[in-house]
Amino acid sequence: MSLLGFCQWLEKTPWSIALHESLWVYPIVESVHVLTLCLFLGTAVMLDLRLLGATMRRVPVSEVVRRILPWTAAGFALMVISGALLFYAVPVRTYLNIFFRLKIVMLVAAGLNVWVFHSTVYRRVAEWDLDPVPPRGARVVAGLSLALWAAIVVAGRMIAYNWFDPPGVH
């Protein structure tokens, strides 16, 4: 089955229809998705700013990672769950939406960025843990992270618009 075929099947499942047509649940799920930005992206931004040497310069980087990142991860879990539900409520239109596709691509890039950080420069964090301004590698990762997440938020907001949808899907 193609991805589109899967989305078309998904769209006809009773729970998808119920979610799509619900008066309260859909807006509540969407509100959770938006407001979790504070927990997820807010804490991620604070870590990125620390990696850029722009805030909390006296706090060891490893301490920010250890004590703040679990909150970021919890926020991310909420984001994924609420986001999956939003997709489940409107599968075909979302799948065909160019902003949704861009968002997914950038999410993968942001994930790779996190992986690169943890498997390279963060391995040697003991050497620069207390530097007010971390080494270049860490700053590049933090800058990329901020740019990617900002673009992901913008793309996410734009999913509501179907300017570039192929004709005949509504």
């Binding site: 407001l35 504070c38 992206l41 807010g42 805030t55 909390m56 310069r57 938020v153 907001r157 734009m158």
Partner: protein, 159 residues
């Protein structure tokens, strides 16, 4: 001049008109509003988590609060500026919108509380503030700001 007349004037302004007649201006401005939301969330939470006894527990509250404040203020400036632009494009709708009224009603105490009580508690000598009161302050702060955010999201759903 009544409040409604003022709102009508905002909606009739050139800025309001320009945003309304553009297909992409509103969502683009709203994206900045959302990015500022994340920044404010982070700057508020780093301090409130610490006051609640989570997060960066080894760091003095005073230092964290001082570090986060410029980002909080920067976020608020972007938030208010983008919010006023969004408002100008649909001011009359906002006038009759219960969620908008709730948001404005919560926004004032949220800002006042943050820059008076919360700021004072965060700057105080930690040995002289009882942990219980620190937690109350953080809980009030998180509740007020969450209320502002939730009401804000609801403006788009109601009316």
């Amino acid at each position: 001049m009544s409040l409604l007349t003022f709102f009508e004037w905002c909606e009739g302004s050139a800025v309001g008109h320009a945003i309304r007649s553009s297909q992409w201006l509103f969502p683009v401005i709203e994206s900045f509003h959302l990015l500022a939301l994340a920044l404010i969330g982070g700057a508020v939470l780093v301090v409130d988590l610490r006051l609640l006894g989570y997060g960066l527990r080894r760091q003095p509250v005073r230092q964290l609060s001082r570090d986060a404040e410029p980002w909080l203020i920067g976020g608020l400036v972007v938030m208010v500026a983008s919010g006023m632009l969004l408002f100008s494009s649909e001011a009359v709708k906002c006038y009759y919108n219960a969620a908008f009224r709730a948001k404005m009603t919560l926004l004032l105490p949220a800002i006042v509380f943050t820059f008076t009580v919360r700021r004072k508690v965060a700057a105080a000598d930690e040995t002289r503030v009882r942990p219980f009161w620190s937690k109350v302050v953080a809980a009030v702060s998180v509740t007020l700001w969450s209320g502002v955010g939730a009401a804000g999201r609801w403006i788009g759903f109601s009316g």
